[in-house]
Symmetry: C2
Subunit: 149 residues, 2 copies
């Protein structure tokens, strides 16, 4: 397998990722550990909430995106970590049983002058269920240049 380096992340390139199917047990498990609010933990409370039914925590949605990006991009790349995100939007609820996929588009790259061996790659991540977009987020992985590592 040829490893992806910074030079391979050209602006406009799109990487498909997934699929990933979310179970109800996983939604409860994440919520119990990290987001114990009634609308993520209890089906009856959830049915009365603004989202009108059980949905995954927004941070669970981000973690699921991370898993698909790790499997399908970063673990095939000379990845050195990440610095954060400028934007996360939870557009539609993620429901038990949803099968999710991503379109990950390179929107910008930059090369720090002080660290010539790697670059920053800004990616725009669009998450879809079978019917529509459910989330939008960005990430900025740090990727080594070819021949640097």
């Amino acid at each position: 397998m040829s490893i992806l380096h910074f030079e391979d992340f050209t602006v406009g390139r799109v990487f498909p990722c997934g699929p990933y199917t979310v179970s109800k047990d996983e939604i409860f498990e994440f919520a119990r550990e990290f987001d114990p609010q009634p609308h993520h933990l209890d089906e009856e409370a959830a049915s009365k909430s603004m989202l009108k039914g059980l949905s995954a925590s927004g941070w669970h949605v981000c973690a699921i995106a991370m898993r698909m990006i790790a499997d399908d991009i970063l673990n095939k790349a000379a990845s050195r970590g990440g610095v954060g995100t400028h934007d996360v939007r939870w557009i539609k609820p993620v429901r038990p049983g949803d099968t999710l996929r991503l379109e990950v588009e390179v929107s910008e790259t930059s090369e720090p002058r002080s660290k010539p061996e790697f670059g920053f790659v800004t990616i725009q991540i669009r998450m879809f269920n079978a019917h529509e977009q459910v989330a939008q987020l960005s990430m900025i992985p740090i990727i080594a240049k070819r021949g640097s590592a």
Copy 2:
């Protein structure tokens, strides 16, 4: 216990949250499930990484912030969900054994004209270990107004 409503989230108000101590097992468990990159999964690979040692996934750090905010603010408030974030910065690594706490400051509020029963509260979240700030993020919870629910 008196429930916090939108009117209680005045700009400039600061809510302390935490503490939360992160175990090594928890770092491995989150990484295995959501961020299976060598620098979060393997102590030897981590020691050779840019962060020079095992650290929690950035999305795990966000999830830990969510847990403290759910326990100490949102589950004491008329919370109706959230819309996303404009900003997440992972400033310093979160290490096994770190005890974390938050300062959560209300930076902005807004009232959608179409939904008079609730408002949006933008909060700036600063996460600290025992020595320094390790992360900065924002969130925008939706909080019901007094008398609306």
